[in-house]
Each structure stands twice: as structure tokens, then as C-alpha cells.
Homo-oligomer: 168 residues x 2
DNA sequence: TTGAATTTTCAAAATATTTTGAAAAAAATA
DNA sequence: TATTTTTTTCAAAATATTTTGAAAATTCAA
């Protein structure tokens, strides 16, 4: 079964890459499983598909919802909760970028601001130190605002043109 | 001693943040120590300053050189090797972005390309699967090329204007 | 209400990563 | 060359993170 094989490879690859850049492997695997699934899935299905424990599934489903990558779906007549992934890959990328911006850039900007506050440039040494702090602050704010612009840019002119060009 | 305190806070903060986004804590601490140091330092000095083992220092110094964030400096009359950090923070940011692009985006592009190769769209299911793979491919290539353009942009018009605006 | 089904929690176990430190290798000196 | 200094390596230890699974909490139907 060739498709099954490709899907497994996809899930495995996604999980491996994720760990290499600081994201939990299981979270990535659950995400890709749902991304590839036409139907929404419940915890038991995910458990048996990925061979992981209930607690693990539960915890990572909640994280994925926090990241805005999956949604809870309540099926009429079903007691169990079902989950479905956001299938619009541009939205997915946007969410990931947003979350990483929040986690990686935000705290850095705050930390540099605190350091700036605390030190008066009354010696050459302190000026040196503040120069570095200021420079990092500047670059970080630059990265932050660049990313924000990109994220706010209307995807319809920014991406759809790229999609058209690359997808054919 | 206020400056010492601020420097320690800087080193500590940098180290903590780094772990939160997948970079080794010690590597980040050594980097910030060198970034804040006017003089180059040798392994023994770094060991005693950060209270870490020789092996750890050695390994992380090599990683930092791989990242292009520090340089080896051979001082005349000295047997020991000295290390000095790149102080141009824009260059530092550029190096970090390059390295992360190489580690995070490159493998993803490759993996998606492999999957595209391996599957023929001869059923609706396979077409579905390939759509996702293609979309990820597209978004990833887009991110890659956007980042590449930013990195290639001449810093003198792109950044220095920002620096002037924000630094005052 | 009660009780069965489902989800959540969290301490302990398993796994993965980082750090140590001493031995080996390499480099410099005499 | 032999000796000393310095750097590198890497198995074992320490630490950190992830996963498990059973108990507790919650939800829902009757």
C-alpha cells in the first residue's frame, strides 16, 4: 500500500523535523495525522494510530488547540470529542509563525528593555554594554515588525500568486 | 556592582531564552559572555566564569564557530587559543537566521520533494495527499525565498535606517 | 440524583539530552 | 627526540524532557 507508506513517511518526517527545531515530536505527529485525515478523529483513534498513551494524546491535543492548528468538533449523537486540523496550509504557516514570534521574539524584546531601564550610561564600560543591548533590541524589533507585516499582508495578493506560479 | 549584575542577567536571560527555542543553554551563555567581553577569552577563563567543564566549553566553542558567531584568535606569545565574538549584531542576526534556515527549512523542502516524487496522483485519495504536500512545499519555498531576499538585502539601506530611527 | 462514558491530571517511569572529567591526541617547545 | 601544554574525544553521570497509565474530575444521559 503505497499511499499509507507515504503518509507514514510524512508523519514520521514531520515529527523528526519538529524535534530538531524545538517542537515536541508527538505534537507534530498528531498534527500531521490530522492534517492528512479527511475525517476528524477522536482520542482513541489517535492513540491506536500512533501507539501512544491517552494522557499524551490529550496533552498534545490541547497544545495543538493553543497553537490554533486544530479544532474541536462536536459530532451530533457522539459523546467523544473529535478533532480536525486546519487544512489551509497558509493559515497553518501563519499560526506557526505567530506562535513562534510570540514565544521567541517577544520575551527577547522584553528582556532587552528591562536591561536598558536598569543601567545608566555613566561609564565607558556601561556604554559598551548598552550598545550591545540596544543593537539587539533594534534588530529584534526589526525582525518582529518585518514578521508582523508579512503576517498581516493579505494572503490573496502575497501568496496566491506564489501558489499559482509554483504549483504548476 | 551594577554592571556585573546586568551582564549576569544578560547571560542568564540569553541562555534561558535559547533553551526555549531549541538552542543549547551553554552555547548561548558562552556566546553572550564573549559578546559582552571586550577582550577575547580562552577556555580556562570561560570555564571559571561560567563554572562549566572543559569538555563542555570545547564542544560549544566549536559549535559557535560552526554557526559563525565567534572566531578563533591566535595571540602572539600565547599557547592557548582565544575566542572573540562577532560584535556586529546585524551580522549575528544574519548568521543565526541563515543557520536556522539551513536547519529548519532546507530539510522540509527536501522531504516534501521526496514525497512528491514517490506518489503518482492516480486516485482521489492520493491527489488529496499530494495537495497537502504541494501546499506545504509552496509555503516553505515561499518562506525560504523571502528569508533569502531579506538576508541578501544590503544591510546598509535595509537596517541602518532602522537603527537610526530606533536607536535615538 | 446516579452511574457510565469521557476527559484531565500528575507522579513515576522511560527516554533523550547535556555535562563531566579523565584519557587520548595533537601541538608547541626545548 | 622527549617533555610539557593544550585541545579533543567520548563513555558514564547528571539533568531535563517526554510519556505513561491509573486515579480524579468532569460530562452527559436516563
Amino acid at each position: 500500500m503505497e499511499l499509507k507508506e507515504a503518509k507514514d513517511k510524512f508523519i514520521h518526517t514531520w515529527g523528526t523535523l519538529a524535534t530538531q527545531w524545538g517542537i515536541n515530536r508527538t505534537m507534530a505527529q498528531i498534527h500531521s495525522l490530522l492534517l492528512l485525515s479527511a475525517k476528524s478523529m477522536n482520542a482513541d483513534e489517535i492513540m491506536s494510530e500512533l501507539q501512544i498513551s491517552r494522557g499524551n494524546v490529550n496533552m498534545n491535543l490541547r497544545d495543538l488547540m493553543d497553537w490554533g492548528l486544530i479544532y474541536k468538533q462536536l459530532l451530533p449523537g457522539e459523546r467523544k470529542e473529535y478533532f480536525i486540523a486546519e487544512k489551509d496550509v497558509w493559515k497553518v504557516a501563519k499560526q506557526i509563525a505567530k506562535e513562534r514570534r510570540r514565544r521567541e521574539i517577544g520575551p527577547l524584546i522584553d528582556a532587552m528593555a528591562d536591561l536598558k531601564e536598569g543601567i545608566k550610561p555613566d561609564t565607558a564600560e556601561k556604554e559598551e554594554f548598552l550598545k550591545i543591548v540596544n543593537d539587539i533590541s533594534t534588530v529584534t524589533v526589526f525582525a518582529d515588525s518585518t514578521l508582523t507585516s508579512l503576517l498581516k499582508a493579505d494572503e490573496n495578493w502575497l501568496i496566491s500568486s506564489f501558489v499559482k506560479v509554483f504549483n504548476r
